[in-house]
């Protein structure tokens, strides 16, 4: 069937062998591809109880039928594994060009298993796939890794078209904060996956593909792309996303006191407005076939943090200078550490210092104090125990001093928002298959729902996001795009004639697979300790209404 290449690569790192396997898309229409298929494969091949950093855990990278076809915002490659941070299943969205390139190389996805004896990287050039030694990349940051891999190509122009997904030194050290980076952009929700790459001794995946992508009905497809672009440019929410990136909800969040400061001790009251932040944006950057181009770059062309990272590295640690926050963000990306968790870790240390509960001799950072802040970022990236202490993530930091209840987050992942001011955010944070902060702007794209509608609204957001990510389309499109346009594209590309219900059903099925995986994985369960911390009256009722809607116990 068009839309899929019908081939996946199975990469066995223990044996250093690569196998090409057939994929029959007709057999997976319940989940389509991308995130859904990734979850389905992981759940069928991996025991949910595995150690995330153990040999038995696998990493499934999967594109959807619309990835790389030219469908608007069809840039997503899902990276699915059991996360070292949350111990749940997680599906990160690698955007930009990686997914499109993988499709052009002739593969729908990859299943990575086992563990290499020494550091390696995977090199995919159409049919030529090799596991290559990565000693020369050891300890290199994400930028240098990309550069060094490209340097191996004789032709500098061809080298520029090689797309690299990699970890930094933090991933090699298997730090739970480690994330993935592709071409200078953070892979959304990848905190906790970098360590899994590291545990397999897999430093990077490089891909270049030159194959044709074929369509069921090329003419209609071209027409639908043009319509999609028009739709996007005339939609108000998507236009504000395009102009302001995730900051389009900033003023709203400030006025509702949703942005916390000084490790959640009080709401952030900025002395300056969005204008002072946007003054630092010089240019924009977009993913493959996405006219929204929501990434902001500064003068140097380095990427500016998304709102959740801005909050965690900024106000949460007592900073508000956008230039300083951007600098810290850039350091995180180079080290390959999740900026939200990094910010939350440092803010926690600052708070613990204030509470005077740090051990003697411990490093004592102070809110808003620059040099210790940057020193800590470097120390976290390099796993320097003498500075950051023994705790490897934020929750163990709080547990270590006996204040576990002061940690704000779900399943070990920080949610950098004051959830008490927003039931939609709170319910989503607790019920989503993995806690995600990059997703939260969805909650602000529309008017606040009535309290009784919150469970249905949250379910709707989650199903739509999962469905889009299974198609291979960026979930941001759901802020204003029409499902009907996507369905039209699906038909033109694959020939499948679906309705909205069926598409959303894919989202529902995906969440069900993920939920069951997490249930079997055990852990603290959905409630974690967050729901007890959410001071929203009647919250338990919303939670049970949500479960009832899903038909889960």
């Amino acid at each position: 069937m068009f839309g899929w290449t019908g081939k996946i690569l199975r990469v066995n790192l223990s044996e250093e062998k690569v196998f090409v396997e057939d994929l029959k898309p007709e057999e997976h229409l319940d989940v389509l591809g991308g995130r859904g298929l990734g979850a389905k494969i992981l759940a069928s091949e991996v025991d949910p109880g595995v150690e995330p950093l153990g040999r038995e855990n696998k990493i499934v990278l999967m594109t959807g039928p619309l990835t790389g076809t030219g469908a608007n915002s069809g840039s997503v490659c899902a990276v699915v594994t059991k996360s070292a941070l949350t111990k749940t299943i997680v599906s990160a969205s690698s955007k930009l060009y990686f997914g499109a390139e993988l499709k052009a190389a002739g593969y729908d996805g990859l299943v990575i298993e086992g563990k290499a004896k020494s550091p390696v990287y995977l090199d995919i050039r159409d049919d030529q796939v090799e596991i290559l030694p990565a000693d020369f990349l050891e300890g290199q940051d994400t930028e240098a890794t990309t550069f060094l891999i490209r340097s191996g190509f004789n032709d500098p122009w061809v080298a520029r078209e090689v797309r690299v997904l990699c970890i930094g030194a933090a991933g090699e050290r298997r730090l739970p904060l480690a994330c993935l980076v592709t071409d200078g952009i953070l892979v959304a929700d990848s905190g906790g996956i970098g360590a899994v790459f590291g545990s397999k001794n897999l430093k990077a995946i490089a891909v270049r593909g030159t194959k044709d992508i074929l369509f069921n009905d090329g003419k209609s497809f071209i027409k639908s792309i043009a319509e999609g672009v028009k739709e996007i440019s005339t939609n108000q929410t998507l236009s504000s996303l395009s102009s302001f990136s995730s900051y389009f909800v900033y003023d709203n969040l400030i006025s509702k006191k949703v942005i916390p400061s000084l490790y959640f001790s009080k709401p952030y009251e900025p002395s300056n407005g969005l204008k002072d932040i946007s003054a630092h944006w010089a240019r924009e950057r977009g993913c493959f076939a996405c006219p929204i181009a929501c990434f902001k770059l500064d003068n140097e062309g380095e990427s500016f943090p998304e709102l959740d990272a801005f909050i965690a590295l900024g106000p949460l640690c007592g900073f508000e200078d956008p230039a300083l926050i951007k600098k810290a963000y850039h350091r995180c990306l180079l080290h390959g550490i999740d900026p939200v968790e990094t910010g939350a870790f440092i803010a926690s240390l600052m708070r613990l210092n204030e509470m005077n509960v740090l051990e003697q001799g411990a490093f004592r950072p102070v809110f808003g104090e620059e040099s210790s802040y940057f020193e800590l970022i470097e120390a976290l990236g390099q796993g320097k125990k003498e500075i950051v202490g023994l705790a490897k993530d934020v929750i163990s930091l709080w547990e270590g001093v006996g204040y576990a209840q002061n940690f704000i987050g779900v399943r070990g992942k920080t949610i950098p928002f004051n959830l008490n001011y927003c039931p939609v955010l709170a319910l989503n944070a607790i019920t989503h298959s993995w806690p995600t902060s990059s997703f939260d702007i969805f909650a602000y794209s529309k008017k606040d729902p009535k309290v009784k509608d919150v469970p249905a609204v949250v379910k709707g957001y989650q199903d739509t996001k999962a469905a889009l990510e299974s198609l291979g389309v960026c979930a941001f499109l759901s802020l204003g795009g029409n499902l009907s346009t996507l369905l039209f594209m699906l038909k033109a590309v694959t020939g499948l004639e679906w309705d909205e219900e069926r598409l959303l059903g894919v989202g529902e099925t995906t969440l069900k697979i993920e939920h069951e995986f997490n249930q079997k994985a055990g852990g603290e369960g959905d409630a974690d300790n967050l729901s007890s911390k959410v001071a929203i009256s009647g919250f338990e009722g919303l939670l049970s209404a949500y479960y009832q809607l899903r038909g889960w116990s």
């Binding site: 030219g70 078209e161 369509f215 440019s233 950057r285 977009g286 076939a289």
Partner: protein, 129 residues
């Protein structure tokens, strides 16, 4: 005479131009590697490069382009699709692909029409021939 003007400061790297060019020439398939325009990233900037007339010999212009404080290799931005630029060879046949301007009237240069940011535009230049 018309030509395509490239304003790299507006380019966001979305590669619609590559898509448009390949869709326009292959009609039933998409393949950015067969596009006659390619978006290359250099020093954190995007440069749409159009494949011009191919020459038989390697071009020997080696000049540096300075934008702000950064220095760019002019070869990266040069429009000529010389035989040494493998990116402008059809990956299947190895033959050089070259911008044919897709006609000035409708459907018009596809890349210009599809570029969502205005980084590509059509400009009339005096003809000396």
């Amino acid at each position: 005479m018309y030509k395509i003007k490239v304003d790299h400061t507006k380019c966001v790297g979305c590669r619609y131009c590559e898509l448009a060019c390949s869709l326009n020439h292959l009609t039933t398939a998409l393949n950015p590697k067969k596009a006659r325009i390619r978006v290359l990233k250099e020093n954190n900037r995007f440069f749409p490069v159009i494949s011009g007339p191919s020459t038989q010999a390697a071009c020997n212009i080696k000049i540096d382009l300075v934008i702000g404080e950064k220095v760019y290799d002019f070869c990266d931005i040069c429009r000529a699709a010389c035989p040494f630029k493998d990116i402008f060879k059809d990956p299947n046949t190895g033959s050089a692909v070259q911008c044919d301007f897709c006609g000035i009237d409708a459907p018009g240069p596809a890349c210009v029409k599809w570029c969502p940011t205005g980084a590509l535009s059509i400009e009339e230049v005096p003809s000396y021939i």
